[in-house]
Homo-oligomer: 146 residues x 2
DNA sequence: ATTCATGCAAAATCTTTGCACTGAT
DNA sequence: ATCAGTGCAAAGATTTTGCATGAAT
């Protein structure tokens, strides 16, 4: 647990940033809610529970910083809000999502299923792939049973 | 050209909507700029050139309607803006995009490269796929040559 | 002292909504 | 006469920015 925090701390330091108490509080919230896809507002509210003095702008600035450093990925499922998703330690690719159009649940897929597809893209379109975003919209197994 | 307009007109009628002059102007702009990924504001400005009396709210309402009817897809490349992309006639799947992180260009891929991946998702996660979004971020062939 | 980070409030941006009005059936 | 559609301006929501203050080296 703290290993991850240390790892992120190191990433910040490498780029010349400090892990301030506010940033630490924000990162901890992200770590404690890894499964969720929190919006900035969500993060802010959770951070406030333990550190009431923190400001929304700071949370935004922290999330922006973490996005730049690729500690988190900023995603958008089509509602008007940006959501933030921790990258797994050592991951160099964004993971995929299954969004249920009935219950709204979001499931993550760790596997990288796109190796073949990327090879095609690089070959056919001469496009050097650095990252990808893949989201499936459909009906999750729970909603199918209803 | 007008075939496409007729086709869209029919889609509207099927769902009980009319192709008003304002909607027609909006659709025409989309048809004339199929390659681009226009934001609502972009569409509005282009519509205004020929129909200055049209309001921004109407453009938004039209785009929302077209999105509902799956005439267009609403996409989001990470800047704060929604963009609108015409579906090809008869397409039931969203097409993919290659976003260049250097010059910002967006290239479209018509091929559906995800059949295998979808089969895996349906099988392994019991998730009934209805649609997908796939975007690659990387360096386009032009920028690679620089 | 200088520099980086914060908090607050104000501003900016994008999008939606309320409401009166128009136009077609 | 009704009802969907429109234009305008106002409101809403999300995110960014300016600036004075505070903490750390």
């Amino acid at each position: 647990m703290d290993t991850k925090l240390d790892y992120i701390k190191k990433q910040l330091h490498t780029s010349g940033y400090k892990l301030t108490p506010q940033r630490e509080a924000t990162v901890k919230v992200l770590l404690e809610n890894e499964q969720d896809h929190l919006s900035a507002e969500d993060v802010y509210l959770l951070v406030k529970e333990k550190s009431p003095e923190i400001g929304l702008a700071t949370v935004y600035r922290t999330l922006e910083l973490l996005t730049e450093l690729k500690v988190v990925d900023k995603i958008n499922f089509g509602d008007g809000v940006s959501r933030y998703d921790l990258r797994k330690e050592g991951d160099n690719h964004f993971h995929h999502h299954l969004v249920c159009i009935q219950c709204g649940s979001v499931q993550e897929i760790e596997e990288d299923l796109l190796d073949d597809v990327e090879a095609i893209v690089e070959d056919k379109f001469k496009f050097k792939v650095k990252d990808h975003r893949l989201t499936f919209h459909g009906v999750c197994n729970i909603c199918q049973d209803k």
